[in-house]
Amino acid sequence: MELQFDALVVGSGLAGLRAALEIPEGLKVGLVSKVFPTRSHSGAAQGGIGAALSNEEPDSWEWHMYDTVKGGDYLTDQDAAETLAMDAARAVYELEHMGVPFNRTAEGKIAQRAFGGHTRNYGEGPVKRSCYAADRTGRVVLDTLFGKALEKKIHIFSEVYMIDLIIEKGHAAGIVTYDLATGAVEIVRARAVLIATGGFGRVYKTNSNCFSNTGDGVYLCFRNGTPLEDMEFVQFHPTGIYPLGVLVSEAARGEGGILKNGLGYRFMPDYAPTLKDLAPRDVVSRAIDTEIRQGRGVNGRDYVHLDLTGLGADKIEEKLSDISSFARIYLGVDSATEPIPVTPTCHYMMGGIPTDLNGRVLDKHGKPIIGLYAAGEAACVSVHGANRLGTNSLLDLVVFGRRAGISIAHDEKNLHLSDISRDIVNELTSKINAIKRSKGPKPASLRARIRQIMTDCCSVFRNNDDMEKGLEQILSIKEQYRSVSIDNKADKFNTDLLDAIELESLLGLAEVILVSAIARTESRGAHYREDYPQRDDHNWLKHTMVTAGSDGLEISFKPVKITKFEPKARTF
């Protein structure tokens, strides 16, 4: 049986849920997610959501906007940064009204704490801007929005995977789903489709992301002709627990934690004299990797120490208890008395599906694709530019998720249902059967190689030669993928098959990341080229766009929107 909706939201993280809540009664909304909604990766967010509420100390949205632009190394579209910062307070109050249990100040207001790159008075020093609920802000915001979705009785399809996106003659027509429980492949038609499928940190070996972050939505847009924007900008968070990659939020440094090298020396003031340990993530990750490369890792190994021992057990228990339990469970380290071994971990994708300020997906000429929307980490508004600041993602999800929902409500009158031929189901079913019959390599072995290649050639430091070699290897794996095989031939709960399908997303996205990173011959934000160590505004103050063309990938560029802040040298 074919399902149809007025609006179909793919992804039930915060971006998808927030958008779905905005779509008015009267329109039939469907929410499709490959995991049960509260299992979505948004629930892993720890540190907080940024807004200049001035609850702890004076703050202003203009400062927040400035930090977002400067943190993004001036690649941020400033109209987007302005929208984000101006709408932040409203968005956070709204979350409070919906029920998010924020920590509180003595006066009963939402408590705030310092976070990397967020400053007072245009860079003078750190400011307390992150609104938080202990170190599980994402969890409680996700619970809260999910509760609202239950209250609103939104149709939720859990453990249902989007395996294709249908764009007919410039219109989104619907998606094709694979039901994990039954193996059924179905067409779901919709007048509007919103992609909110999150990031794809799983392209890298060490990462803070969940297993389901394989970027399917981003890849399927790309496969169906939409460009991808700024894909070379991959954020490595400075403090992943060594060697797992599990995240220790910047909140740990916001609350007073400091980084030390193998000599026990606090190195961040040498790299960022004003913000020190609270400099933006690209700066801190490079500093850590530089210390390690120069032989000052702990015991000569590839990690440094995050020292929380100055905070005291009480503060850790009250504000960082999840983090301290990660250190205890996974390393047997008591963070109140011993330092935590940390190393940069792949964390966030600044790039993604290009959208306007209202969630409408743009084609390579900058024109909206009718009926197609995107929000959250999958999208590139671009509000994070070349490097996202901590707490700005959760904010992005609720601000731009809501705006995408409003757009759908607004555009709805002009959107219609299109027919989708059953051929696509037959085609995908044969593809699945071919994987089941094949005798070629297994998904896990190919996946492990992709992740190793990307980690080796396209992490915190990059150069042309290594990336060119990496790209060649990725292309050869792409060839091998054509005969990928699996053990499991069953229809029910065949996660083996889904591993194989997700691998196609990872491969496609790895290629786009490399092609974008090779093209950009400058260093900016998270993209640091050893062979081009300077930022080059004259040639590169522009967004990279990669589109799948008939003979391979096509690269084009799009200007950056600059309104209030002229690009300046970036010092912290």
Binding site: G99, G108, I110, A444
Partner: protein
């Protein structure tokens, strides 16, 4: 080191009865049981089915019975498993759909039953005020990841499928003790029934297994006391 994972296998559409299969895996003591399962699935036997996602105890996907105890496979380390044989089974009390995957719909239905969202009147322009002391009353309940370990481990749930069970009670606790919620009496009233809060017999199994260290039983008892205090002694 080499360890043996003895894993429950069952595909109700094919197998007449569940069976166990032993897998030998190479694992480091600091690795997670989830890493072992992944190694089996990726390298030895792709037919094994289980849920997982975050791999660090924050999403609630991979609750299962490990050496007889409900736990998250991503939070249980090889070195904590004592013996070099690790027994892995699906969560009890739920219907097995395949191998380690159980049908959690009845669980989520019971969570939904307590209305896990805030009821509150028209909000002020800015945030509602709530003192740190009031906020603390919700305690650790906000850590819940709906993994269902507690419900699966509860001996009462095991015998009485109508009992609401510990996880929904934790969800209810969070709203009952949220000073912003306006439905406290209705919420207490809803739980003041035989299969609500009173079915709990203080076995503490839920508290023992909760991977987020939520004092589940204590919260259930706090609800019981609050019911007595606010609604008066219950009819029975």
């Amino acid at each position: 080191m080499k360890i043996i994972l003895r894993v429950f296998r069952f595909d109700p559409s094919v197998d007449e009865a569940p069976y166990y299969r032993n897998y030998s895996v190479q694992a480091e003591p600091y690795e997670r049981v989830l890493d072992c399962l992944n190694r089996i699935k990726w390298e030895q036997d792709g037919t094994l089915a289980y849920r997982m996602s975050c791999a660090h105890g924050v999403c609630g996907s991979d609750a299962m019975k490990i050496n007889g105890r409900c736990a998250l496979a991503c939070q249980k380390l090889v070195r904590d498993c004592e013996a070099d044989l690790i027994l892995v089974e699906p969560l009890p009390s739920f219907t097995v759909l395949k191998d380690l995957i159980v049908d959690l719909n009845p669980f989520f239905d019971k969570v939904n039953f307590v209305h896990p969202f805030l009821y509150a009147g028209t909000p002020p322009e800015k945030e509602r005020l709530q003192s740190p002391e009031e906020r603390k009353k919700m305690g650790e309940s906000i850590r819940c990841i709906l993994c269902a370990c507690c419900t699966a481990a509860c001996p009462v749930v095991n015998e009485n499928e109508n009992f609401l069970g510990p996880a929904p009670l934790v969800q209810a606790f969070r709203r009952i003790f949220d000073s912003r919620d306006t439905q406290k009496i209705e919420r207490l009233d809803q739980l003041d029934v035989e299969d609500g809060v009173w079915a709990c017999l203080n076995h503490y199994e839920c508290t023992r297994v909760c991977p987020k260290e939520i004092p589940v039983t204590k919260y259930i008892n706090t609800i019981k006391r609050e019911i007595k205090k606010i609604l008066g002694p219950s009819p029975e």
